[in-house]
């Protein structure tokens, strides 16, 4: 973080882009294949830190690299070729203007090596879509805050790695194998990580969250979606009438992962959205819960195959489906109000139109027509058309698939997340809905400040270790600590990890404060605070952020203005 000036323009050469692995990346620790992309985010103007699985991170580590820092801007399109300790920037003019899928295939063919792992941007990243992601292994994404647009601004098309050096330097191999084996057993024995996630993926949540009345629907006008069942995990398992096959082909794992939540899906070749497009006929990454929500419920669309195709387009050209889908939701609401007309958008766009969703996906991915405006994200788009209140964002980033009116802790999570609204930094849904590690009342606000702080600090530790946040359904820091301690020097105890997590959180906060954010930016969209939930268990409730926020600042040891106090910084050694 000391690397860049917090005031820097995210898309200028002065911003830096960091790809980094964790200490457990590339080891036998379960889910130890993750890497993060860190930069100043163009969507938010805040610190961005997007985490991805697949195989790329482990390959980077096996080539001997812990971290890559990209500075400046290349005069022409290039890709970085890493073969163990050899690093070379190569011409990528022939790849510019093409998709991530094409880029991966072309680079592998050029090097005659299918084992190369690649992280690349699609046309969205090149065109400066503010929520472009970095895609690795065809359908794994460092997804949020627009890290792909920063990569594009540097004229960096891809990073291709071949690592055959291995991961040396495990402190105590024997203790490490013992600790990782024990931790794998914890994952296997747990109902969520051992059964739920492999069978249903994150999509297991669709019906659950709909039932508790926390599924933001039609740009968060409703909290329950009548079509939820049609786009749920259960629906993905069912045979469709068209070709008699199910949407879901199989589950799949990221490197080293013994959970295997990944969805591999295939759509009906006769579905109207792909009949003329054979490239979408094969099996590829399918719907996660967040994407099924953002492309589906947020727009009132319940056509499972259409959502799967929209998701493929997002992967193919590297766009964050959460922000993209939620922005389409805002467009549809403005269309409904008559603020936007068919002539402006290029297609009739009422809520529920799968045709509009697919067409707008193509337009945005390719940088055509109204797609150029959707590329701005909903905050800028809604302001442009005079309806700022229709943007469902915090710090300019769209919140994901949990409505804070029905799950209060998520309201505080969104408001205080350092990278803008996000569920992955403090997944209080685990506690408030699933009862992990302890059940709390989703409609209560008491105790949520401490809960959110504890989740944020622990998650920061998990993310930086190089393991997947989904392990936290079963693991606590007490499961992580022995694995880290056997791998690295430094005496990694549970307490030390929690403190490290808190330190990370405060450092990110300081970066954002220096970038110009204030307590005013720790707020939720007005709709969530003033328009009560219309149906479900949370009926009549709004998000009580104003009550929780002061408690949270206090729990963090921050002033009433949300600034870390001298004592807090001193305690954390900052």
């Amino acid at each position: 973080m000391a690397e860049t000036d917090p005031k820097v323009d995210p898309l200028s050469p002065e911003n830096k882009l960091i790809m980094t692995t964790g200490p457990l990346t590339g080891t036998m620790a379960s889910t130890g294949g993750r890497y993060s992309v860190v930069t100043k985010g163009p969507l938010t103007g805040a610190i961005a830190c997007s985490n991805s699985g697949g195989y790329f991170g482990a390959e980077l580590k096996m080539a001997g690299w812990d971290m890559i820092i990209f500075e400046g801007r290349s005069p022409k399109p290039v890709y970085l070729w890493l073969e163990n300790d050899k690093a070379e920037l190569r011409d990528a003019s022939h790849l510019w203007g093409t998709t991530t899928w094409h880029t991966e295939e072309t680079i592998k063919a050029a090097h005659q090596d299918p084992q190369i792992r690649i992280a690349s941007i699609g046309r969205a990243g090149e065109n400066g879509v503010l929520y472009a992601c970095v895609i690795n292994d065809l359908h794994r994404a460092a997804g949020r805050s627009g890290v792909g647009a920063v990569m594009g601004s540097k004229n960096l098309k891809a990073v291709a790695v071949r690592g055959t050096a291995g991961v040396p330097g495990i402190k105590d191999f024997k203790a490490f194998l013992k600790a990782t084996t024990a931790a794998k057993k914890v994952l296997a024995d747990n109902a969520v990580t051992g059964q739920g996630l492999p069978k249903f993926g994150t999509q297991i949540l669709m019906n659950v969250i709909n039932e508790v009345g926390a599924l933001p629907t039609r740009n968060a006008q409703d909290v329950q979606f009548e079509g939820a069942r049609n786009i749920s995990a259960e629906a993905m398992h069912e045979k469709r009438p068209g070709d008699g096959k199910s949407n879901l082909v199989t589950n799949a794992a990221c490197f080293g992962c013994t959970i295997a939540c990944g969805r591999i899906s295939q759509v009906d070749q006769n579905h109207w959205s792909v009949t003329n497009n054979p490239k979408y006929w094969g099996a590829t990454g399918g719907l996660e819960y967040e994407n099924a929500w953002s492309l589906g419920a947020a727009n009132g669309v319940d056509d499972l195959d259409a959502l799967t195709v929209a998701n493929m387009i997002c992967n193919e050209d590297g766009m964050d489906p959460i922000t993209f889908g939620a922005t389409v939701g805002a467009v549809m609401e403005m269309y409904q109000m008559g603020v936007l007309k068919k002539e402006q958008i290029g297609i009739e766009s009422p809520f529920g139109s799968a045709q509009a969703l697919i067409e707008l996906s193509h337009m945005t991915a390719e940088g055509r027509g109204f797609g150029k405006e959707i590329a701005l994200g909903s905050r800028r788009l809604c302001e442009k058309y005079g309806k700022p209140e229709l943007s469902m964002t915090v710090k300019s980033q769209e919140f994901p698939a949990y409505d804070p009116r029905g799950i209060q802790g998520m309201g505080l999570t969104y408001a205080t997340s350092n990278r803008g609204a996000c569920h992955l930094r403090s997944y209080t849904v685990a506690s408030e809905i699933l009862g992990i590690p302890v059940k709390t009342d989703p409609l209560a606000t008491d105790g949520k400040a401490d809960l959110v702080k504890a989740f944020q600090d622990a998650t920061a530790a998990f993310d930086s270790a190089g393991v997947c946040v989904f392990t936290t359904f079963a693991w606590t820091l007490a499961d992580l600590a022995p694995q880290l301690d056997a791998a690295c020097e430094g005496g990694w105890t549970l307490e030390r990890l929690a403190e490290m997590g808190e330190r990370i959180w405060n450092m990110e906060r300081q970066y954002n404060l220096a970038a110009g954010f204030t307590a005013k930016d720790d707020d939720l969209p007005k709709r969530l605070k003033t328009e009560p939930a219309k149906t479900g268990p949370a009926k009549g409730r709004v998000a009580d952020i104003d009550k929780m926020l002061p408690e949270y600042y206090k729990a963090r040891g921050w002033t009433a203005e949300g600034v870390p106090t001298k004592d807090t910084l001193k305690r954390l050694g900052l």
Partner: protein, 139 residues
């Protein structure tokens, strides 16, 4: 007693834990490029398939090798590639009917071919064995 591995490829998720374990057992390192097991990804079919040497009774690779680098270990009866004899001609990879003999790059693909090891493929495409292709996945 001789033992054999029974692999149910339909259950494979592609996590590569087996490759990691194999490299650790044989080389004491976390390095999938040194694994004797190789998990292949058939992307558009949505299949991951772990390949290991099947140790055929009538080993075609052994007969194909021009320099007798593949020999039967007297103690175990296993067919073993002797890396120091192998000259890197790749004839065995063509001879193997299952595509389980693979060329590896980790000892230096562009320099010392003669010391190349043979268990990791850099060649593609590869077909899914018919037995696996036709079976529906149960999970």
């Amino acid at each position: 007693m001789q033992k054999s591995l029974r692999i149910d490829a339909n259950k494979c998720t592609g996590c590569l834990q087996c490759e990691m374990a194999c490299s650790y057992e044989n080389h004491g390192a976390f390095n999938i490029s040194k694994s004797r097991i190789k998990v292949f990804n058939f992307e558009s079919a949505g299949r991951k398939v772990p390949y290991t040497c099947t140790q055929c009774a009538e080993a075609w690779c052994l007969h194909a090798c021009p320099v007798d680098a593949i020999r039967i270990d007297a103690a175990t009866g296993a067919k073993v590639v002797h890396e120091n004899v192998c000259v890197g001609c790749k004839v065995c990879t063509i001879a193997c009917p299952f595509g389980t003999i693979n060329y590896v790059a980790w000892s230096g693909r562009n320099s010392t071919w003669a010391s190349a090891d043979w268990r990791r493929s850099t060649w593609w495409p590869r077909r899914i064995p018919r037995s696996i292709r036709s079976r529906p996945k149960t999970s």
